[in-house]
Every structure is written in C-alpha cells, then in structure tokens.
Symmetry: C2
DNA sequence: CAGTATCCTTTACGATACTG
DNA sequence: CAGTATCGTAAAGGATACTG
C-alpha cells in the first residue's frame, strides 16, 4: 500500500521516507547524478556540465550524495590531485526511476506553461 | 536524448524543464497530490491527511498546483462553504511516475540510513 | 470552513577570497 | 585542481491571529 499515511508524520520532522526523497530530488542532486550517468567525472567537469552551480554548493551536494551512498569519491595521488565521482548501483537505481519524470516534464512543459498563463489571465480580470 | 544538457542553463534562471519539476517534486506538492489520489478532498481533509502542514502553506501550494493544472478547485455555495480539490489528468500522470520513486525510497530507506551512519562513523575517527 | 494577514526563523544558495 | 572559509541575500516555511 502506497498510501499517503506512509509519508506523513505528526511531529515537525520529515518521516524517513520523505527524508530519503528530499535528499535526492532537490534542486541540484538529480542534476549531479545525471552528470555522472555515462561515465565518472572529475569535480570540475561536473561543475562545467551543470553550468550554474557554485563550487561551494557542488561540494556540499556531492558530500551528501556520497554520504547517502549515491556516488563514490576517488582521490588519485598526484599534484594537483584528481578527484573522480562515480555513480553507485543505488545512484543508478534512482536515475532509472527519475529519468521518466524528466521525459514527462519535457513532454508536458508547454501544456503547463499554458495552464499557468491561462490562470493568470483569468485572475487579471 | 535525455542528456544533462537538456536541463542546464547558463544564466541564473532555472531552465523550463527544471522549473516544471521543481513545481511538483518539492516538500509538499507531491504529498498533496498523493492525498487526492483515491478521491477528491476538501481543504481541511487534505490538511488532516498530511498532518504537519500549516494552513498558510497548504493554501499556497494548492494555488500553485491549481495554477499549473495539477488540481481543480471547486467551490460549492452554502454556508459554510465547501471547497473540493481533485486531481486532473496531468496530476495523475505525474503521480503515476512519482509513485515508483516512493516505493523505491521505502525499499531502500534502511540501506541509505546505514550508508549515512557508516560514513559518519568513518569521519568520527 | 477555507482561507488572509503578519511576523519571524530557518535553510538554501550566491559571491568572493583563500589554500594544500 | 578541488576544495574551505566567510559573508550576505532571498525564498520557504512555521506560528499565530483574524475574517467572510
């Protein structure tokens, strides 16, 4: 049963399942995982692929993703160092479920924008 | 092609596709849509089903969901008024793609919590 | 009942400078 | 190169009181 009761919590904390989801569907996390889909990438490559993310925020998000087990972090000794990030099986599992959602957003984007515009036109009267 | 390039933007704005996703995978939106899955609900029923959401935030989120076309809002004349919210086809489409993600989070939750704990143990040395 | 209105706090994020 | 450290801002959300 995937009812809403499995996601609600009385106290001020997110229930564990919501905490899992919020750790991965946020503004940056899914984008970072997507940047690793084809092959492992170095820190600077991820940053370049995403474009509009600051170093600080990327570091922060990568740490959280590593902590939860979505990516691995590998440091090669040398100077300057190279740090490679790669998807784990868990990260790939998530991506496989999330990508259909991206496809849907691409398909439906125009409809949603039209809905929004229509709603705003009505309210403007 | 569902590459990352379809989601990145050079300027400070979210690209349109990311804007769509951010409007629906946030902290409350998916939960609200889930509360409407079986049948339309009144405002107070949604609030009760979710539990930890304030009236202000629920109102705000419902408006945005209505604006984008995920839910309809129907006011019955009477006193006091009854307001019913219901899923649209668009809202249902989203839920159909999002629910597998919830199922996955339920399955994987324990693993992820263990990853987190293991990571924190390492860092504690 | 279904909201508004106000105020306040927290969290995420951006910008920038610095470092092994 | 891959971060850390600091500072500042803006948006989301919580608490509470009020209303047609």
């Amino acid at each position: 049963m995937l009812s809403i009761t499995s996601l609600t919590s009385a106290d001020g904390q997110l229930c564990p399942v919501r905490r899992v989801l919020s750790g991965v569907v946020g503004k940056w996390q899914s984008l970072i995982l997507l940047s690793l889909e084809d092959e492992p990438q170095r820190f600077s490559a991820i940053k370049r692929l995403i474009g509009d993310i600051t170093q600080r925020v990327l570091t922060e998000n990568l740490r959280d993703l590593e902590r939860d087990g979505y990516v691995t972090r590998t440091v090669s000794d040398g100077s300057p160092v190279e740090v490679h990030y790669a998807l784990t099986a868990l990260g790939r599992e998530f991506l496989d479920l999330f990508k259909p959602l991206i496809g849907w957003a691409v398909q439906r984007r125009a409809d949603i924008e039209e809905n929004r515009a229509a709603y705003d036109r009505k309210r403007a009267d």
